[in-house]
Amino acid sequence: MPLNEKTGEFTPKIVAFCCNWCSYAGADLAGSSRLAYPAEVKIIRVPCSCRVNPMFILRAFEKGADGVILCGCHPGDCHYSTGNYYARRRMTLLFSMLDYIGVEKGRTRVEWVSAAEGVKFSTTMNEFAAKIHELGPNVRLEDLRCKN
């Protein structure tokens, strides 16, 4: 369980996949506007939300992530026209499957954040981190192929 060595508090690991065109820029704007959100959130840049393979999210949970959030352009605003629609459908399916195997719905989230929405990026991350704190540490997924 990821406990802070000094304080003994739960410090979750949160992975945020952000599309390059909208959400990553939104995160940049949150930064240049000095809008704080917890350091527990770490961003991985992808060209488009549709680049995010469900495998990446499973991998994150397998490696000990407590929450994974995917941010893309607003519907209709995707730089590649339709990528976020693919992402939305894929994630709906994946998240309900994860819920089924015990990774609560609250640990996964899809959010549309435009390049102009620094405030939304920051509030979203604050909310999401608060939710993960509320849920506590995640059950760790295991890849049985690696265990003999």
Binding site: K13, Y24, F56, R59, G83, A116
Partner: protein, 662 residues
């Protein structure tokens, strides 16, 4: 194994004040593959780049990680630096420890820990980077300008003067746009038509410019340098080649009750019409909704009176396809609807009008032939009240949150013109703030007050109440006197907020250009790239990007043209090498990837494959690197895991995930 160098930037105190950069260097140096790590005050400076170049040469680095600001800021800088030092530019990764770390965290320990993790993720990724080589694509030497107002006309003229073909697509029957509707322009008070019409004529006569009026963009595909656009020429019901513009048809047309769009609905026009006398082209259109011939089959008078035989009731919409290297968007603006602001009685009294309507009233070619009069009864007004910020600076859903920028100046202009022409008319302006930055602008406003005696009152109007005698009672506050005022007026003019023309929204979707919450097109960088869309090859001209006046619009139109010319001047463009690629051994040719590709970049070939000694012909997906934009949709759709994205491969992203969750 890679030989990786890590370079941690202080960014002055921007990073170093919150992140312990020495600690980041120390921790990064322990990561696998890292053979060099150092920090410097400004990595992006010449001295900083020299350090990187030196390390690449000395330590024979095969990949580098720069821990600095956002890659959106300086990725290109560091890639060029690496390239100059002999390293493939795609062997560079950026760890964003400024926007995503130092700027949002206060606690140094926490921020340092995060910076280390972000550096680790970048190192893990670069360990799996492979050198990439950008491809090339051709540039079609032709530009498309969408919108034929002053912004579009100026951009088109500048591009055409540089020697490139330009097509202007304008949805209304004439070019000219909003500026053609204006009477006089601030701060010089020259007549709008006098300075616009010559430009319209110049554009129409330019051998490199083709104007498609009454036309709309229907479909856009392709990418920078090579856009393919379908344009719909709406049926004008007139053969433009035959029409002489004599105007007989309009005179004789018996259906004269349609509201004139050009005069903002203040008077009527015939069903067959040109919007205004100086229209370009001077070819009318038939409004089929209003035309008796189209509604009942009977009439046909216009056809009978047309000596040239130009009227063609059978004409149909025509769609043609053209290729362009660059697109300039100049779709302009409209005033917002005032339905939700009826405290100002806009829908209750004809004497409450918008400022744009006042332009038509003041104009010699307008509904009152330029006489200032009450529209309800034609009476000469004694007192006119102007209300500023109607619908601008509103945080509720009735209006717009932004300042429309042009209203303070045009209201001063209107007030001054009225006082100049009709010294007997009293003019009062209610304002919240008078915002007049700009050359000779504040002087202009002060002239309205000092020389023309316009009465400026700080305070907003709360209600306009029509009175039984036909006047209007204006109830407002005078904040400097701390009073509530009730004053009689004969006309009230509302400085109505402007908003992007509604056509821009579907257009932005077609262009995959980003748009903000107010429907203004977003620029690539608010300060450093203000006339480019984040989508390559799309340039922004005029109010479609944000509120601006005529000089600013013309300046931006010129700037957009220069950017477009810079693109068109190139023979070839280097393409993004981060494209999809199929693993021939894994691909089973199922077509799933082609079905999700938004660019039609994937085709199939039958190829002889040597699969571990088994040689057979297989149907294999092949990605066209010039078409692929690197979104990665196909990589996730591929059921066999054959498709991967170069520069953002499955292994690379998983390495980042692992590093973050470690």
């Amino acid at each position: 194994m890679q030989r990786i160098g890590v370079f941690v930037c202080h960014c002055g105190s921007n990073i170093a004040a919150t992140v312990d950069v020495k600690k980041v260097v120390e921790m990064a140096a322990r990561e696998p593959g890292v053979v060099h790590a150092e920090d410097y005050q400004y990595m992006c400076s010449e001295a900083g780049q020299a350090k990187i170049a030196a390390a690449i040469a000395e330590k024979k680095l095969t990949g580098i990680v720069v821990c600095s600001c956002s890659p959106r800021m300086h990725e290109a800088t560091f890639r060029k630096c690496a390239e100059r030092a002999g390293l493939n530019p795609y062997m560079v990764e950026i760890a964003n420890i400024r926007e995503h770390c130092s700027w949002i965290h206060k606690n140094m320990e926490e921020a340092t820990e995060k910076a280390v993790i972000l550096a680790r993720a970048a190192i893990a990724k670069v360990n799996l980077n492979a050198p990439l080589k950008p491809g090339e694509s051709r540039v079609t030497k032709r530009a498309l300008v969408i919108g034929g107002g002053i912004a579009g006309i100026q951009s088109a003229l500048d591009i055409a003067d540089a020697g490139y073909e330009v097509d202007i697509v304008e949805k209304t029957p004439s070019i000219g746009g909003r500026m053609a509707q204006l009477d006089k322009t601030f701060p010089t008070l020259d007549c709008s038509a006098c300075i616009l019409t010559p430009k319209m004529v110049e554009a129409a006569a330019h051998e490199k410019i083709n104007i498609y009026t009454y036309s709309e963009v229907e479909k856009i595909s392709g990418f920078v340098g090579d856009f393919t656009v379908d344009i719909r020429k709406k049926a004008r019901s007139i053969d433009a080649n035959k029409c002489t513009g004599c105007g007989a048809c309009q005179e004789k047309c018996p259906s004269k009750k349609s509201l004139s769009e050009f005069n903002r609905g203040l008077n009527t026009r015939s069903a067959i019409y040109t919007p205004f006398a100086q229209a370009i082209p001077n070819v009318p259109v038939i409004d089929r909704e209003a035309c008796i011939k189209f509604k009942t089959g009977k009439c046909g008078i216009c056809s009978k009176v047309c000596a040239a035989g130009a009227v063609d009731y059978e004409q149909k919409d025509e769609i043609f396809t053209e290729k362009y290297g660059a697109i300039v968007v100049a779709t302009g603006f409209d005033t917002i609807k005032l339905d939700k602001y009826d405290e100002y009685a806009y829908n209750q009294s004809k004497d409450v009008i918008t400022s744009l309507e006042l332009e038509r009233v003041m104009n010699a070619a307008g509904p009152t032939k330029g006489h200032l009069e009450r529209l309800s009864d034609g009476k000469h007004p004694e007192h006119i009240v102007f209300v500023q910020c109607v619908g601008s600076r509103c945080s509720d859903e009735r209006g717009k949150p932004y300042c429309s920028k042009i209203c303070c100046m045009y209201t001063a202009k209107h007030a001054m013109l009225i006082r100049d022409k009709y010294p007997d008319v009293k003019v009062t302006v209610f304002y919240i703030d008078v915002r007049t930055p700009g050359k000779n602008f504040d002087e202009f406003y002060r002239r309205a007050v000092e020389e023309y005696g316009v009465n400026y009152i700080k305070g907003q109007v709360g209600k306009v109440a029509p009175q039984p005698d036909g006047s209007l009672l204006v109830q407002a506050s005078d904040l400097l006197d701390n009073k509530q005022i009730k004053m009689k007026a004969d006309m009230v003019v509302l400085a109505t907020a402007i908003e992007p023309d509604p056509s821009v929204r579907p257009l932005a979707t077609m262009l995959t250009a980003s748009i903000d919450t107010n429907n203004f097109l977003t620029e690539a960088h608010p300060k450093l790239r203000p006339v480019e869309s984040p989508t390559a090859g799309i340039f922004l001209s005029g109010v479609c990007q944000g509120p601006k006046d005529i000089p600013e619009t013309v300046a931006q139109a010129g700037a957009a043209a220069v950017k477009a010319i810079g693109l068109l001047a190139k023979d070839k463009l280097t393409t993004n090498p981060c494209t999809a690629k199929a693993d021939e051994l894994l691909c089973n040719g199922c077509s799933t990837c082609a079905n999700v590709c938004p660019y039609g970049a994937i085709s199939y070939e039958v190829k002889l494959i040597n699969d571990h000694g088994v040689r057979e012909d297989r149907r294999i997906a092949v990605v066209n690197n010039a078409l692929c934009q690197g979104c990665g949709a196909c990589t996730v759709a591929c059921p066999s895991g054959a498709m991967d994205l170069q520069g953002f491969s499955n292994r690379q992203i998983i390495a980042e995930v692992d590093a973050i969750c470690r």
